[in-house]
Amino acid sequence: MKTERTFLGVPIVKPKVGFFDLSSCEGCQLQMLNNEASLLDFLSLVEIVNFREGMKEKSDDYDIAFVEGSVTRADEEERLKIIRRNAGVVVALGSCACFGGVNQLKNRFNDLEWVKRQVYGDFPIETQEAKPISAFVKVDLEIYGCPIKKEEVEKIVTKLVLGQEITHPNYPVCMECKANENVCLFDLGEPCLGPVTRAGCDSWCPSNRMGCWGCRGPAPAANLKQLEKIAEQKNISKERLLDRLECFGGFGEAAREMRTKVEGGR
C-alpha cells in the first residue's frame, strides 16, 4: 500500500478493493458502475483490483472486500471464507448479503425438495437455505438496500478510506419521507413499511409513491406491533403487510412469527 495523500495531515492510503458476488442479481455491483457522474472520483478513492463483472485482471491482494449476494450453495461458502481470509475489511453489500434478500423467500416453505421440484422437476440441482454472509463469516460493515444507494455508498466508502467510524441512521424511513414532503402512502390506501424500516435510502420508494418494502431491514426502535394495528385500521390485510415484511429477510423472526399467524388464520 502506498501513501498517496493526506487529510488534515493524516496519511490516507488508497485501499485495494475487490467486488465479489454470490447469489444475487449483481445489481448492487452495477450500481457502482451506475455512478457515471462520480465514477472517476470513486476510482481515485480506491484501487479496484478484483471486479469480475467489470475487469479481467484479478488479484487476491485486497484490503476491502465488498461481497454482494447471499450464500445458497456450498461452493459459495468456501469462496466467502477465502475472501474473508484475504480481506482486512469485509463489507456486506446490499440486502442479499446483509439479510438473504429476496433469495431467502424460498426458505419460507421450509421444504427445499419442493422448491427444487417446482423449478427443475426431477433434474438434480444443488441448493441450500439462502443465508446472509454473516451466517458464515465475520462481517465488518453492512451496506443496506435493494439496491444499494450510490450516494450512500460513496459517503460510506469515503469514511472507510478516511478510517472513520461508520454509523447508519437510527430512524425509520418516515423521517426522510416527511422531509421530502411526500404524501403518505397510507393516505393513498397503500401499505408502507416506512415506519419500521431503517432510513438511509432517502425514502427512495415512497418518494416515487411506492410503499416501502423494507429492503434495509428494521430501524433500531421499530414498533412492529403498532404497524400491525395501523394496517388493520387502514384495511390493509395482514398478508399484504407480511408480503413486504418477509420480502428481503431483514425482519427475520418478526416476519416468520407473522407468517405463522397469517397461515393459522387461513
Binding site: 466508502v157 469515503t158 423521517m175 415506519p195
Partner: protein, 346 residues
C-alpha cells in the same frame, strides 16, 4: 393598522402583481383513498393552482425558511490548510400566499428562538428577512385547536392578511410594501358595516372549532404528571419516526453531520432537522442515552412545547395546527395526549 376592502375578483390581480416574485402557496398534491384532496405548500406558477380554501396542508411551509436539510458551510482544502465558506442559503425574496394565522404565529414563535438575542441564526434570518406574507383567514378543520393555543388570530408578522367576507376581502395591511401593492389594485376604504361584518366573520369562525385543549396550569400539571403512566401508554404506540416534528411548523431542532468529497478537495457540514422522538436524540458519548424509551422521548416533546417554551417565552411552542396529529400514523394527537395527562391514568 390600515384596513382595505377589495372585490373577490381582484384576488387574481393581487396574485398577478406579486407573481414577478416566486410565490409559495397551498396546492393540491393528490387525493386520498376517499377522494379528499391533500394539500401542501409549493411554488405556484398559475393562480388556478392556488387552493386558497385548503383546510390544512400536510406539511408546514418551513422547508422555505427552515429547510429539512441545509448546508451550514463548505470547506476547501489546500495543502494541509483549509478555508471555510458560509452561505446562508437565501438568494431571493419569496411571497407566501395564503398562510393561515397559525402558521404566521409559528413564524413569530420561531423568531423568538432563532432571531432572539442569544446567537441569532442567520440561516433562518436570511430567509425570514425575505418573506412577503399574505395571510389568509381559514375555516377550522376537525383537528384544528389553534383557538386553545391563542393563535387563531395573528397580530403581526405578515404584510397583508385577508379575510373573506361574502364577495369581498377584508385586508389588514401591515407593511408599506403591501400598501404599495394594494395601491395598484382596486380597493376601497372599509366602512363601519365592514368592520361589523369582519367581527361577525371572525366570531363565526370561532364557533366552528370542534377540538379543544385545556391549557390552564398546563406547565404545572406536566411537572406533576412527570411520572404518570399515561406516557407509557402513548409511548407504546409511538413509532419513534419523527413525522410529528417534520410536519410541525415550530419544531426546529437539528443534528449536524460532516462529509468529505471523494477527492478530499472539499467537505460540507450539513444540518438536518431532527426530532426528539428519534431513538438517539439524547445519546451521548459512551453510548449513554438519556431517553432510551419512546415514552420518555414523547414526553419530552410535550415538555419542550408546552412547558419549557412557556417558561422561557410565556407562550407555548405549539400553534394548534393539528398537523402532527393528522400525520401521526399511530394517531397520537396533542389534544388527546394533553387531556389524558390532565386526567391522569384512570
Amino acid at each position: 393598522m390600515i384596513f382595505k376592502v377589495f372585490q373577490a375578483g381582484e384576488m387574481e390581480t393581487l396574485f398577478g402583481l406579486l407573481s414577478v416574485n416566486r410565490i409559495v402557496g397551498p396546492v393540491e398534491k393528490g387525493r386520498d383513498v376517499d377522494g379528499k384532496p391533500l394539500y401542501d405548500f409549493d411554488v405556484v406558477y398559475d393562480f388556478k393552482d392556488l387552493k386558497l380554501d385548503y383546510g390544512q396542508t400536510i406539511h408546514s411551509a418551513k422547508n422555505y425558511f427552515l429547510p429539512y436539510r441545509e448546508n451550514l458551510c463548505t470547506f476547501t482544502f489546500d495543502n494541509g490548510d483549509w478555508q471555510k465558506e458560509v452561505d446562508f442559503g437565501a438568494d431571493r425574496a419569496h411571497v407566501f400566499f395564503g398562510l393561515h394565522s397559525c402558521d404566521i404565529n409559528a413564524l413569530n414563535k420561531l423568531d423568538k428562538v432563532l432571531m432572539g438575542n442569544i446567537y441569532p441564526n442567520p440561516f433562518y434570518g436570511a430567509k425570514r428577512s425575505n418573506m412577503f406574507i399574505v395571510g389568509y383567514s381559514c375555516t377550522p378543520t376537525p383537528s384544528c385547536f389553534c383557538h386553545s393555543m391563542g393563535t387563531d388570530s395573528v397580530l403581526h408578522g405578515f404584510d397583508l392578511f385577508l379575510t373573506r367576507m361574502g364577495d369581498e376581502y377584508f385586508a389588514e395591511v401591515q407593511s408599506a410594501r403591501a400598501y404599495h401593492i394594494l395601491e395598484r389594485m382596486e380597493t376601497r376604504e372599509p366602512t363601519h358595516e365592514d368592520h361589523l361584518h369582519f367581527r361577525k366573520t371572525t366570531s363565526k369562525k370561532r364557533s366552528l372549532f370542534t377540538c379543544e385543549v385545556d391549557t390552564s396550569d398546563l406547565t404545572k400539571i406536566l411537572d406533576m404528571e412527570f411520572e404518570s403512566e399515561v406516557w407509557e401508554k402513548w409511548g407504546d404506540k409511538c413509532l419513534s419516526c419523527g413525522t410529528c416534528a417534520n410536519v410541525c411548523p415550530t419544531c426546529y431542532c437539528y443534528g449536524v453531520e460532516e462529509e468529505v468529497n471523494m477527492d478530499f478537495s472539499h467537505a460540507r457540514k450539513v444540518k438536518q432537522l431532527y426530532s426528539c422522538n428519534l431513538v438517539d436524540f439524547a445519546e451521548v458519548a459512551g453510548g449513554h442515552n438519556f431517553r432510551p424509551e419512546s415514552s420518555t422521548r414523547l414526553k419530552y416533546r410535550y415538555y419542550h412545547k408546552h412547558r419549557g417554551f412557556v417558561e422561557a417565552y410565556e407562550e407555548s411552542l405549539c400553534v394548534g395546527c393539528g398537523r402532527c396529529g393528522n400525520a401521526c400514523l399511530a394517531d397520537i394527537t396533542v389534544p388527546e395526549v394533553i387531556a389524558s395527562v390532565r386526567e391522569g391514568e384512570k
